[in-house]
Symmetry: C2
Subunit: 351 residues, 2 copies
């Protein structure tokens, strides 16, 4: 089972390993006949150079690591697809590091992020992309932030839609504040005045941004935000159901439109509304954020803010690639504009 090496090839071809290396890498001219002889041997043994040895010398592995909280959340596969598309043609391979937020203690998640950060650097990845997890914290602990900053000195890191205090990181973000404004304005434009906001976590910066955009738009239109209509609790379909259910159970006036922190919550909200005997959008309008594929598949199709996930991934990959290849003038911050996608879940309020 001993695998063949450049030495085996060299010996059988009656050349030195250097020459074999030369044909392998096209790094210097080799006589056609010699090259052919070597190539034949390579084919014969299906020889594949050991990338470990190669990387050990070259100090580049062509591997990049991506740390994300939950591959099961459809948002992440979308940006992953973008990353992959872009990175593949640049010759990178991906380490997928899922910190499995969905089924565990939050503390474990951060612990696992640290762990992966360590593994990735040991494995000498050329770069790291982080999305979700600690970088989404509105107030990330100094320790956790510093750890990342420290690693960033040795290997380039790009943060997607997040940030960390205490140091400057390369980041690719979507302007969610402006996006949330647009969503809210769409609703206001439709004639809604009683608008609720549900989902997300107050300690997460994405939630803070989305809520800020919501408030700004409401204020600009001279509408009051009813604080009892602003409820957080998570980003899942189930949380959406609960939050919407609670909104509907309340005494007194009901909102005619609900801005949800993301699509999953939006979907949950629709389910809850339907279960309560309401019709969307006739009785209540619902919006999401992300524009995951599911958003277009739900009935009614969800009006949402497209975070342009795929584009986000591609951009991050591009920035990271620049960093790795030490191009200069790489922007610290790259901002993408989200896009309002109007579908079927929003309409003017009844009467």
């Amino acid at each position: 089972m001993k695998s063949v090496t450049v030495y085996d090839i060299a010996k059988e071809a009656n050349v030195s390993v250097a020459t074999v290396s030369r044909v392998l890498n096209n790094t210097a001219p080799v006589k056609a006949s010699t090259r052919q002889r070597i190539q034949n041997l390579i084919d014969k043994y299906q020889f594949q150079p050991n990338a470990l040895a190669r990387s050990l010398i070259k100090k580049a592995t062509g591997m990049i690591g991506i740390i994300l909280p939950d591959i099961t959340n459809p948002f992440f596969p979308e940006v992953l697809a973008g990353l992959e598309q872009e990175a593949r043609q640049a010759g990178y391979t991906f380490f997928l590091c899922d910190t499995g937020s969905s089924n565990q203690d939050i503390k474990d998640q951060y612990r696992r992020e640290s762990q992966y950060l360590g593994i990735l650097t040991e494995k000498q990845v050329d770069g790291i992309i982080m999305i979700g997890g600690r970088i989404d914290l509105h107030h990330c602990g100094k320790e956790m932030a510093k750890e990342v900053a420290e690693i960033n000195k040795r290997v380039p890191i790009v943060l997607i839609n997040g940030n960390l205090p205490g140091a400057a990181f390369h980041r690719v973000v979507v302007d969610e504040i402006a996006g949330a404004e647009r969503v809210t304005e769409h609703l206001i434009g439709l004639g809604h005045r009683d608008i609720a906001f549900i989902g997300g976590y107050p300690q997460m910066s994405n939630t803070v941004r989305r809520l800020e955009g919501f408030r700004t738009a409401m204020e600009r239109a001279g509408l009051a935000v009813r604080e009892e209509w602003v409820n957080h609790g998570g980003f899942s379909v189930n949380r959406g159901k609960e939050l919407m259910g609670r909104l509907l159970d309340r005494e007194g006036r009901r909102p005619t439109a609900v801005v949800c922190a993301n699509d999953l919550v939006g979907i949950g909200a629709i389910k809850a509304a339907v279960k309560a005997g309401l019709e969307v959008p006739r009785d209540v309008s619902v919006t999401g954020v992300d524009d995951v594929p599911m958003a277009a598949n739900i009935i009614p199709e969800l009006t949402t803010l497209s975070l342009r996930c795929v584009e986000l991934g591609r951009t991050a990959a591009r920035v990271l690639h620049q960093l790795i290849s030490k191009s200069d003038g790489v922007e610290l911050l790259t901002t993408l504009q989200p896009e309002l996608v109007v579908r079927e879940s929003t309409a003017p309020p009844a009467k």
Copy 2:
């Protein structure tokens, strides 16, 4: 920017690199005071041993590669989550190789599979998991199969829910034939006699198996399969819409129930039915296969065959781990039983 090595640590600690290595790996007793001195230096410099160099010697990398066709299809993240959970605690890291079937020529996909297979072996992964792509072909070309067999001699491969001719591979599969029978029987038990089957590709083995189970159950119940009600075309929501639309547009009798090749097609079918003014399940029952999260979120919630994706992933990881650690007696074939999940999209036919 030069990174610190065992030599740097050794020099500063006044010991040899061997001793440093010993404390790093706990591979031999080291005097407590010496160990402490070294450990302090390690902490001081945040020294991390270079995994490339280590793997070069150890001939094990702790990396496993997973080749899949489209991370964007919710089925795959689910099994990935299972893989990850199981593999993480065994100390593996994942290479994610998405061959991007969703937006390209099928030929390109297979080419990319080959490419990734090559990259993974060069990078000396300890094992490879394949799911989707060529291993789902009902009749896979000899060349493409042989390529995988060849690699399998050098590094262990586990196929999930697929197979390849010409050699014996370690596989983890779900009994889809029995599963499709169960789904069909559920419908028949509800009183349906006019049942259609839509979705999938006739050249893919999963489609063949699901259709076979469908036919078996129909036959056993003495029901005829109307061939004009068996239509293939893909696994996406859009194909489901189209196929269902075509079924509904047909002259004459309409099916009262539709067995879909997977959940996405099922969701598309529901959309088409609703668009055509029908109500599900009152006017037509719809079933899926996979049990992706979305299946439970659609309205009405989709009755489906759970392929137990997460469990599938875990099992595959376990088998691969056994293979890597050269346990003997590893079963060539591991079969999981799928599970019928009855939700809201099926009901007795309207009189």
